[in-house]
């Protein structure tokens, strides 16, 4: 399993035939996530919840151990990993995740995904993945799953806007 920091533009084209079950995606590394990262994200989305930038309020009022990395930021990282892997021909159709535990300021996050099943449909293929976010202490905080659509090497491009396959989950 290799890692990238994911800050550059991906250029690869991925086809359904390139994917195998139990294949790991390259891990997307983010962080260490400092107070500046959290403040920048709060400001970009104009969300003023103090547990992400006011340490005194977070610790003394909300009794939390430290500032929290936003769940809303972690979900962006998950979508980025999948989008970059799907490339310019693929489409991230579905993503599901649960916020099971906190991530604290200063942590380094590794966003991972593994192909679990591949499904060959008439017009294009579907790839089901398991995913999550692990911190630098090895703890999983955001388990989830996803479904990505990929074209066949000798097939038609995916429909855009995306049209889900009839009857498929």
């Amino acid at each position: 399993m290799t890692a990238t920091n994911g800050s550059t533009t991906p250029a690869h084209a991925l086809y359904f035939e390139d994917v195998k079950e139990e294949q790991d995606l390259n891990v997307l590394m983010k962080g260490p996530l400092t107070t500046a990262h959290l403040m920048r994200w709060s400001s970009a989305m104009e969300n003023w919840h103090k547990i992400h930038y006011d340490r005194t309020f977070t610790v003394e009022h909300d009794k939390l151990p430290d500032l929290l990395i936003n769940g809303s930021l972690k979900q962006q990282f998950i979508v980025q990993l999948l989008k970059d892997w799907a490339g310019p021909l693929g489409w991230v159709w579905k993503v599901r995740y649960q916020f099971r535990s906190m991530n604290l300021v200063g942590e380094k996050l590794s966003v991972w995904a593994t192909v679990k099943t591949i499904r060959r449909l008439e017009d294009y293929g579907l790839v089901d993945l398991e995913l999550g976010v692990i911190n630098n202490h090895g703890k999983e905080s955001t388990p989830g799953s996803a479904t990505v659509a990929l074209p066949y090497r000798d097939g038609n491009p995916l429909p855009y806007p995306f049209i889900p396959p009839a009857g498929a989950d």
Binding site: T8, A11, W41, H61, G71, V79, P88, F162
Partner: protein, 174 residues
């Protein structure tokens, strides 16, 4: 004792009026968003053809529409209004996303996660429209008693009513 009354079940299917973002998707907001999530993919800023030719112009990140609803000019400023309130945690707006609150007072609220379906990326210049509804409300027995699971579905569309993404967020009340 069950928390899920007939009154609470009657909220299923209830929806909001359509909400429209006060500003169209604009390059500066997209730049700040992309730099904050550390994803500076060329599809978000190049007007020329990129390696991804589907979009015919710069687009916003997939989840951007869910964050496009900002406080418009001329509306009350909750940050200033509550500046002297030591209990103010900085959360503004409704956790029920404009839906009428469920009659479940004094129950803690937890974010149980989300399921998102993507259909199209928002282009620069488009306004974002959103409609929220109570998609499902059900009860499960937890270790410490009953818990109510509330799924709120939000459809985000553009000016042409094209569906951009659908988010189903699950809130847990216990």
């Amino acid at each position: 004792m069950s928390l899920l009354t007939e009154e609470i079940k009657s909220f299923i299917g209830m929806k909001t009026e359509e909400e429209v973002s006060c500003e169209p998707v604009e390059a500066g907001a997209v730049r700040r968003f992309c730099q904050a999530i550390m994803d500076e993919h060329s599809i978000y800023y190049f007007h020329e053809a990129t390696e991804d030719t589907r979009y015919e112009g710069p687009v916003a990140p997939p989840l951007f529409p869910a964050y496009a609803f900002r406080r418009p000019f001329g509306t009350p400023d909750p940050v200033q209004e509550r500046a002297d309130d030591p209990e103010f945690d900085g959360i503004v707006g409704s956790t029920a996303q404009g839906l009428p609150p469920l009659p479940l007072p004094n129950l803690a609220l937890l974010n149980g996660g989300s399921e998102v379906e993507f259909y199209r990326l928002a282009r620069h210049g488009e306004r974002i429209h959103a409609t929220h509804k109570y998609h499902d409300i059900y009860e499960k027995e937890g270790r410490n008693g009953p818990m109510v699971f509330v799924t709120i579905q939000t459809d985000y569309t553009n000016d042409a009513s094209d569906l951009l993404l659908r988010v189903r967020k699950t809130l847990i009340r216990r």
